[in-house]
Structure formats: C-alpha cells, structure tokens
C-alpha cells in the first residue's frame, strides 16, 4: 500500500487532529485558533521559534492542561473527553529531562511500563528489545546519572515507545545534543516511521531537521502560518527552501541552517 498522504484521512482517523485550539495564560494568549492534522504514518514537524507556543501545544495534546477552546483528537479520541484512550495511543518525549537520575535505566523504564499497566515480565522483554535496537542494552542496570545527554534522550525515546503508541510526540528532542547524537536520534525516529508505521510529531526550531517530504506546521506567536508538505509549502511561497519560506511567512530577518533567530 502507498504512503498515506497528509490530510487525506480516508478510512482512518487522523493520528492527531487539532481544531480551533486557543490557550491563554491569564491575559496572555499563547495559542490562537490553531488547527491542523497529522495523517497516520507521517513524520510531521512543528516548526517555530522559541516562544512560538510549541511546548504549550504539547501540554494541551498530552492533557496536562485543559483545552476549553477547541478540540484535540488522537486517532479519533478526544483528549478532554476520553483522556485514557487518547493518552494510551500517545508516546511523549518532553523537552525537559525527565529520567530519575538516582534510578537505573531498567528502573526508570519499568516505572513507565507500570504506568501503562504493563506487567514486569512483558515490560522486561520490551525494554530489552528496545535497548538492543538502540545499542544501549549494556547500560540496563546503570544509573541514569551516568549517561550522557544523547544516551538519556535515547532512553527517553525508548520509554515513550514502551507502550507501543501509534503516535509519538517529541518536544525539541535534540536541543543541547552534539551533532552526532542529533543525527542519530533523527535517523532513529525516521526509521521508526518507515518500518513501524508510527506517526511522529516533532517540534523543533532547527531548520536542518526538516526534509522535503515531511509534513510541516509552522507556528509563530501562537498562530499557524502554514501547514502542508515541505516542498509544497516552499513552492507556494516561491522560496528557495524551507528556511526562506519560514522567513517570508514570519518576517524573520535571518534564518541559518542551524537555527532561527529574530
């Protein structure tokens, strides 16, 4: 069967559907009428500067905050109405480090498995196979504290995949990592999309993490500026590449390959 195209949504509900979502912190509006959807099996990038509202959006998708304005659905399950059904289909890698440093890799991962109702025997076999895939199996009993930044991220990704979610959310997963770790993690996730068919929603402000065939949602000051296949967005703007398109859409002065700055 062919690739599922972004937004075609025939037969299956969208992996992630955000419609008409606004969010306020007191008087300050963090998100304004945000709408887009991610088709199953796609690698979708949420592109925006720091402060664009990416983390707020992720907090809403993971039901940390309520969504009084608009709806968010994960594979057709409304996050506010059926949080359990929505959350079990969602794996999430937070921007902040969330491993317990005093516990071992195994203990960290087992804790997560139990939070999804996965018993010890099943959890251990999944943990071993995930760690084997990322070449970290020999660190199973090491304290999380002893891992490097890139290794911690890999463990956090393994953790997010433990309950086999069809949708994986990553909030700036490569921030603070060296070039090699960044490339490896990006490659691992892209491989997952190809081989396992999971859907990925990847927030970043790093232009060079975007490929032409990706689905991109550009967020600026809480608004969606554009949403579609990268090459189509670029063509639509008449820009040379995605960074040019971003600059045109948001009025950002300079966009370098490594990141964007106002």
């Amino acid at each position: 069967m062919q690739h599922v195209k972004a937004n075609d949504g025939v037969g299956l509900p969208a992996a992630l559907e955000v419609s008409g979502v606004s969010h306020f912190y007191g008087e300050k509006r963090a998100l304004a009428d945000v709408s887009f959807s991610v088709a199953p099996g796609r690698f979708a990038v949420l592109l925006g500067l720091n402060g664009a509202g990416k983390t707020t959006l992720f907090s809403l998708i993971s039901n940390l905050y309520d969504t009084p304005h608009g709806t968010i659905r994960i594979f057709g399950h409304d996050v506010s109405r059926e949080p359990g059904e929505a959350l079990r289909r969602l794996g999430i890698v937070f921007q902040a480090r969330t491993l317990d440093l005093d516990l071992s890799v195994d203990q960290n991962l087992s804790y997560h498995a139990s939070l999804h109702g996965i018993g010890r025997a099943e959890a251990l076999s999944r943990i071993k196979s995930l760690l084997a895939q990322t070449g970290m199996i020999d660190r199973l009993h090491d304290k999380a504290r002893s891992l490097s930044g890139g290794q911690m991220r890999r463990i956090e990704i393994a953790r997010a995949l433990l309950h086999r979610p069809p949708l994986l959310l990553l909030d700036e997963p490569t921030v603070g990592l060296d070039i090699q770790s960044r490339a490896e993690i990006l490659a691992t996730i892209r491989e997952l999309v190809r081989t396992e068919g999971i859907s990925v929603f990847w927030a970043t402000h790093l232009i060079d993490e975007v490929e032409d065939s990706d689905h991109v949602v550009i967020l600026d000051k809480g608004r969606v500026l554009t949403d579609g296949r990268v090459d189509e967005v670029v063509r639509g703007c008449g820009a040379a590449n995605i960074s040019g398109a971003f600059a045109m859409l948001s009025g950002v002065a300079s966009v370098s390959a490594g990141g964007m700055h106002r």
Binding site: P68, A96, D100, L103
Partner: protein
C-alpha cells in the same frame, strides 16, 4: 509504510480502559519507585529519625520537670513526659513527611517527573491516590522505626498498641499527605522547605496537643485553645494517642476522615486539567 502496519500497532478492536490487574501493576510501580527513591536517600531517612529523637531525648528530658501531666485519658496513671509526647512525635514525623512529599512533588513538577506521571492513561484520581499511598507507606515505616528506638528509651506502650496505631497512622498520614498535595498544586512556587516549616508545619505542630495537653492551653489562653481545636493535626495526634493505648477516639476519627476527604478531593480537583490550576501558569517546564 503501510496501512496494515498502523493497525498492527494498535488494533481497531483494541481493549478500552484497563483491567483490574493492570491497576495493581500501576499502583505497584508507583509504590516501588517511591520505595527506591527513599532507599536512595538514606540521609532523608536518618534525618526523619533524628528530628523526633532529639525532641524525645533532649526536649522531653528538659521539660519533664517543668510540665506535670495529670491523669487524662487514655492514660490510667501518671505518665512520664516522654510517654506523653511520643504520639505527638509520631504525628510530627507524618507531618514533616507529608510536607516533604508535597515539596518533592513541586520539584517533580518542575523536573518533569510529575508530567511523566500525569501522561499515564490511568485516571488521574487513581494516579494521585497511588502517589499519596506511596508517601504514606514510607512515612508509616518511619514512625515504626522511631517507636522502635523509643522503646529503648522506656517508652513502652502495650504491644497491641503497636498494631492498633497502624490504621491511625495511615489515616493521619493520608490527611497530611493530601494537605501537602493540595499545597503543592495551589502554591505556585514553594520557595524552600523553610517557608513550609514556618507557615505550615510549626503552627500546626505547636497549636496541637502534641507537646502539652489541651486543658493546659485552655487555662493559659482560651483563644489559643480554640485555634488548637480548629487544627486538624490536633485530631491526628489524639487519634494516634488513643490508638496506642487500645482505644478508639471516635470524635478524632470523624474529623480526620472528613478532613482527609476534603483535602484529597481538593488536591484531585486541583490536578484535574479541566478544573485545575496547572493550566493557568506558563511555568510548567520548557519555554512557552
């Protein structure tokens, strides 16, 4: 990739909700993690013991000449001052531990550990109650460790008392931990433990019968006596004191159960995304 593999990942007829067994797996995981964290912080265990032992060894020794405790229920004879303050010190352990767990949750929230808990698909009331249960279990063990040391200091309640205080400790611990949980959700940033000590722990501890019987307080200040009666910690201490001597103080039990339900309900509400306070502030990790 294919459509087929998508449905492989999560079958269309995937089970909804969780089986009872899976709830146990989740509860066990939360208890186990709390236990591991506790074992990894031995200083915390030692300091939780040192504090009440100082009161018992030093403070009580100094005050027993000053404070005479007359015969009041549940005691049938004159008791040593050490004996009198032991239930209050048990309460103190629960109080500190409850507040400490509230502080650790604020820390957790900032470090993102609370987030990893809250994105679990289990119902939020279940997750928070499990977290509380874990905290209470740890503080109950601390109380027994304290009582074991106190035994060598000639504080020797009847052996049945050791069994009977278990439910009293558990309930009181639940009350104080849910108070802590409520505080952690309401107070934006607990500056440090000192703030909690000055504004919550010490007032609750001193305005209670933990160190002196309430009738003595009434003699010196009727107003203070009223404050003590309004303090839920008072009832926790009395519940523990009576249980230690094989008696059930129904009045205290009623207050402790009611207050626990109020605090716990408040905490669950505060952490409920649709009603809670979390969404009102932008500081829950990351930038915007």
């Amino acid at each position: 990739m294919t459509m087929q593999s998508v449905t492989d990942v999560i079958p269309a007829n995937a089970q909804r909700g969780f089986r009872v067994g899976q709830y146990f797996v989740c509860l066990k995981g939360i208890l186990f993690r709390e236990g591991l964290r506790f074992l990894n912080q031995r200083e915390r265990f030692v300091s939780s013991l040192v504090r009440p032992l100082l009161w018992l060894f030093v403070f009580a020794a100094g005050f027993r000449q000053v404070l005479g405790v007359s015969i009041i229920p549940p005691y049938k004879t004159y008791v040593m001052y050490e004996v009198y303050i032991t239930p209050g010190l048990c309460g103190m352990i629960l109080l500190f531990s409850g507040m400490q767990s509230s502080l650790s949750m604020v820390y957790d929230r900032e470090m993102g550990n609370m987030r990893t808990l809250l994105v679990s698909p289990f119902p939020r009331w279940f997750l928070l109650s499990s977290k509380l249960l874990a905290g209470v279990t740890v503080s109950t063990m601390q109380v027994y460790a304290f009582l074991a040391v106190a035994w060598f200091w000639d504080v020797r309640p009847p052996w049945t008392g050791y069994l009977l205080i278990l439910p009293a400790l558990f309930l009181s611990g639940l009350m104080l931990c849910s108070l802590g949980l409520l505080l952690s959700s309401v107070i934006k940033q607990l500056e440090n433990f000192a703030g909690i000590m000055n504004f919550v722990i010490f007032p609750m501890y001193f305005a209670s019968p933990a160190l002196y019987p309430l009738w003595r307080i009434q003699e010196s200040s009727p107003l203070l006596h009223k404050i003590c009666l309004a303090n839920p910690f008072t009832y926790a201490v009395e519940l523990i004191r009576f249980a230690l001597y094989g008696q059930l103080d129904w009045g205290s039990l009623a207050v402790v159960v009611t207050v626990t339900m109020l605090f716990l309900g408040g905490a669950i509400l505060a952490y409920d995304p649709s009603k809670g306070l979390l969404g009102r502030r932008p500081d829950t990790g990351g930038n915007a």
